[in-house]
C-alpha cells in the first residue's frame, strides 16, 4: 500500500551546497502493518515520514500510496491527500498552544465542513478513546507532556485516517508514559490502521505486535 521506489532526497544547506539524506531507498509497507523505522538521529527516518505524508517531495524516485504516485502532486492535492489519508503525530506534537484540547482536535475537521453533530461526535469519540475528555476546555499550553501526547494522537485519528505516522513520539516522555504510548499503539493497530513509527527508543524494539522493523542508517535501508 505504501511503496517508496528508488527514492532519494536532498536538502539545500547553502546556496550551492546540498546534503543527501536518503540514497535511492526502496521501501514497501502493506495495508494494516505496524512498521518501526529504527535509526539514529539524522538517519533519514523523519524524512521518510514526511515523504509518505506529502509534506516534502523526493528529489528523485516515486512515492506510491494505494497505487497513486504522490511524488509530484501540487500543494493543494497534497493537502487534500493528507486530510483524507494521513494522521501525523509530530515529534514535538505541534499543537497550537493557545487553543484548547477540543479546538486542537477539531483542526483537521475544519476543512471538510461536516454537520455540527457529526463533528462533535467524532471529537467526543477520540477524546474518550484517549482519555482526555476531562481536559476538553483546557489550553494545551497547560497540559503535561503525556496529556499533550494524547491530544496529538487524538488529533491525528479524529478523521479516521488510513495511515498513521508517528515521528519520535516518545522523545520527550519518561518510561511510564512511553509504555503508555505503546499501549495506545496496540489499540490503533486493532483498528487495522497502517502505522509507521520513526524512533530510536529501544522500548519499541522487539515488540510482538509490530509487523516489521526497518533499520535506517545514514539514508540507506539496512536489511
Amino acid at each position: 500500500m505504501i511503496h517508496l521506489k528508488n527514492v532519494s532526497k536532498s536538502f539545500m544547506t547553502g546556496k550551492k551546497e546540498s546534503i543527501e539524506v536518503l540514497h535511492s531507498i526502496d521501501l514497501q509497507i502493506k495495508e494494516g502493518e505496524l512498521v518501526i523505522l529504527r535509526g539514529a538521529s539524522g538517519s533519514g527516518k523523519s524524512t521518510i515520514l514526511s515523504l509518505i505524508a506529502a509534506l516534502a517531495k523526493p528529489t528523485s524516485g516515486d512515492v506510491i500510496i494505494d497505487e497513486k504516485n504522490i511524488a509530484k502532486i501540487s500543494d493543494d492535492f497534497a493537502a487534500l491527500y493528507r486530510g483524507e489519508n494521513i494522521g501525523f503525530i509530530f515529534q514535538k506534537y505541534n499543537l497550537l498552544h493557545n487553543l484548547s484540547v477540543e479546538q486542537n482536535i477539531m483542526l483537521p475537521l475544519i476543512p471538510i465542513n461536516l454537520p455540527l453533530e457529526l463533528v462533535q461526535q467524532k471529537i467526543q469519540n477520540v477524546m474518550e478513546m484517549f482519555h482526555i475528555e476531562h481536559k476538553k476546555e483546557t489550553l494545551c499550553a497547560k497540559l503535561s507532556g503525556g496529556e499533550q501526547q494524547r491530544v496529538a494522537i487524538a488529533r491525528a485519528t479524529v478523521k479516521d485516517p488510513k495511515i498513521i505516522l508517528a515521528d519520535e513520539p516518545t522523545a520527550n516522555l519518561d518510561k511510564k508514559l512511553s509504555l503508555h504510548f505503546i499501549e495506545m499503539l496496540k489499540e490503533l493497530k486493532s483498528l487495522h490502521k497502517t502505522i509507521v513509527v520513526a524512533t530510536h527508543d529501544p522500548l519499541f524494539f522487539g515488540l510482538d505486535f509490530v509487523d516489521k522493523e526497518i533499520l535506517i542508517d545514514d539514508g540507506n535501508i539496512q536489511i
Binding site: L55, D76, G83, N94, N98, L107, I110
Partner: protein, 393 residues
C-alpha cells in the same frame, strides 16, 4: 467546490483574533482613528458643499462683468438694451453691490443694493428678516447677525455711518437683522436700497457692478453666453453651470489641507502595511505550517486570514465613521472646523448640516478595508506556499 460558508473557519478566525487580544485592539484603535480623521474631513466638506448646493438653482443664469485691463470694473447699464434684444433672454437687471471695509473693526462687509419696488422684495424680506419694518424701505439698512454684533461692539445700535469715497457720510437706520436660519448666507451682509448703495460706493446712475441675466430656456444658456461674449469682448460671462462646477471642486481632495491630511493618513496606513508585509512572526509561520500539515489547503489558510483582516477592518470602519459622525455633527467639529472657517472677525456660528452621502462612505470604505485585507493576506500567502515540512521542524 464547497460553496456554503464554513462557520468553523469563521469561528477559528474569531478565536485567532481573541487570542491576540492586545494586538487586535491596538490595530483596531489605530485604524478607527485614521478612518475617523479622514471621514471627519470628508463630512465637513460634504456639509459645506451641500449647503451651497441648496440654493444653486436660484442663482441668475448668467452674470455679466466688465473687465478693464484684465481687472473687474463697473459696467454701463445701457448694455441692458442690447442684452434684452438677444433671443432667449427673459430679463436683465443691473446690480449694485460691493465690499465695504469697516476700518475700526478691520472687517469687510458685503453691501448689496436692492430695489425695494422689485417683485418679491417685500415678501422675501418679511420671510428672512427678524421683525421687518417695511415703512422705511428707501432709507434702510438690514444686516446679517455677524455685522450686527460687530456694529454693536462699536456702539452702532440704531444707525450706522458709511464713509463715502469723497469723505462724506451716509447715515442709515438699522431696520432689521436677517434670521439665524440664513446666517451662513447673510452673516457679513448689509442690504440697502440701490440708491443708498450708489451713494456709498459713488457709482453713477448709469453704471452698475454687474448685470444678472435670466434665460427662459436653460438649454439655451450656453448659446446666449457665447452671444454675450461676442457682443462684449471685454466682458466676463459667468454661467450658473460654471458656478456649479466651481462648487463641486470646492474643498477638493486635491487642495491644500485636505491633501496634506490625506497624505499623512496614507503614510501612517502604509507604515502599518509595510510592517505587516515584512512577514509573519515565526510563531504565525509555525501555525500556518501546522495547519498545512493537518490537511488545510493554501486557499483555506488565506480564507481564514481574510476573515481575520476583514473583521478587524470592518469593525474599525464602523467605529471610525461612527466617531466621525459624532464629532462632526453632534460636537460640531471643534478644532477641525476652524481650518475651514478661516479667521475673520465676522466668524459665524453656523451648524454643519448632516448629509448622508453614500458615495463618500463607499470611498472611505474602499480606501481602508481592501488595503488592510491585502496587507494581511500577502504575508500569509508567502508563508503558506512554503514547504510545511521546513516550517514545522
Amino acid at each position: 467546490m464547497n460553496a456554503k460558508i464554513n462557520f468553523y473557519l469563521l469561528e477559528f478566525a474569531l478565536g485567532a483574533l481573541a487570542r491576540q487580544r492586545s494586538k487586535t485592539v491596538f490595530i483596531s484603535v489605530v485604524l478607527s482613528l485614521l478612518i475617523a480623521l479622514l471621514s471627519s474631513f470628508f463630512f465637513i466638506a460634504n456639509s459645506i458643499k451641500h449647503e451651497l448646493l441648496q440654493t444653486l438653482d436660484t442663482l441668475p443664469e448668467i452674470t455679466l462683468q466688465k473687465l478693464q485691463g484684465g481687472k473687474h470694473t463697473n459696467i454701463e447699464t445701457s448694455v441692458i438694451d442690447s442684452i434684452l434684444s438677444i433671443h432667449g433672454v427673459e430679463d436683465a437687471n443691473a446690480r449694485v453691490w460691493g465690499y465695504y471695509y469697516f476700518g475700526q473693526a478691520q472687517s469687510t462687509f458685503v453691501l448689496v443694493g436692492l430695489d425695494p419696488f422689485e417683485e418679491h422684495y417685500t415678501k422675501t424680506m418679511q420671510q428672512v428678516v427678524q421683525k421687518y419694518d417695511f415703512m422705511q424701505e428707501s432709507k434702510q439698512l438690514v444686516v446679517g447677525q455677524g455685522v450686527k454684533d460687530i456694529l454693536k461692539s462699536y456702539y452702532y445700535t440704531e444707525e450706522f455711518n458709511f464713509i463715502k469715497p469723497d469723505g462724506g457720510i451716509v447715515t442709515l437706520p438699522l431696520s432689521g437683522v436677517f434670521n439665524s436660519e440664513i446666517e451662513l448666507e447673510s452673516n457679513d451682509m448689509m442690504v440697502v436700497s440701490k440708491e443708498s448703495a450708489r451713494e456709498i460706493f459713488a457709482i453713477a446712475d448709469d453704471m452698475a457692478t454687474d448685470i444678472v441675466i435670466q434665460v427662459a430656456n436653460p438649454q439655451e444658456v450656453a448659446t446666449v453666453a457665447s452671444k454675450l461674449q461676442l457682443l462684449f469682448p471685454d466682458a466676463r460671462v459667468i454661467t450658473k453651470e460654471a458656478m456649479q462646477i466651481s462648487y463641486k471642486n470646492i474643498i477638493d481632495y486635491k487642495s491644500g489641507v485636505f491633501l496634506t491630511l490625506f497624505i499623512v493618513s496614507l503614510f501612517t496606513f502604509f507604515m502599518i502595511i509595510y510592517d505587516k508585509l515584512s512577514g509573519l512572526s515565526s510563531e504565525e509561520k509555525r501555525e500556518v505550517g501546522i495547519l498545512k500539515a493537518l490537511g488545510w489547503k493554501v486557499e483555506l489558510i488565506l480564507k481564514e486570514k481574510f476573515y481575520e483582516a476583514f473583521i478587524i477592518s470592518c469593525i474599525s470602519y464602523i467605529l471610525g465613521v461612527g466617531i466621525a459622525l459624532f464629532y462632526v455633527y453632534i460636537l460640531q467639529a471643534p478644532l477641525l472646523r476652524s481650518v475651514f472657517e478661516g479667521y475673520s472677525k465676522l466668524r459665524s456660528s453656523f451648524e454643519l448640516p448632516f448629509v448622508l452621502d453614500l458615495q463618500t462612505l463607499s470611498l472611505i470604505f474602499f480606501l481602508s478595508v481592501p488595503i488592510y485585507v491585502a496587507a494581511t493576506i500577502v504575508p500569509a500567502w508567502r508563508a503558506a506556499i512554503q514547504d510545511a515540512d521546513e516550517v514545522i521542524r
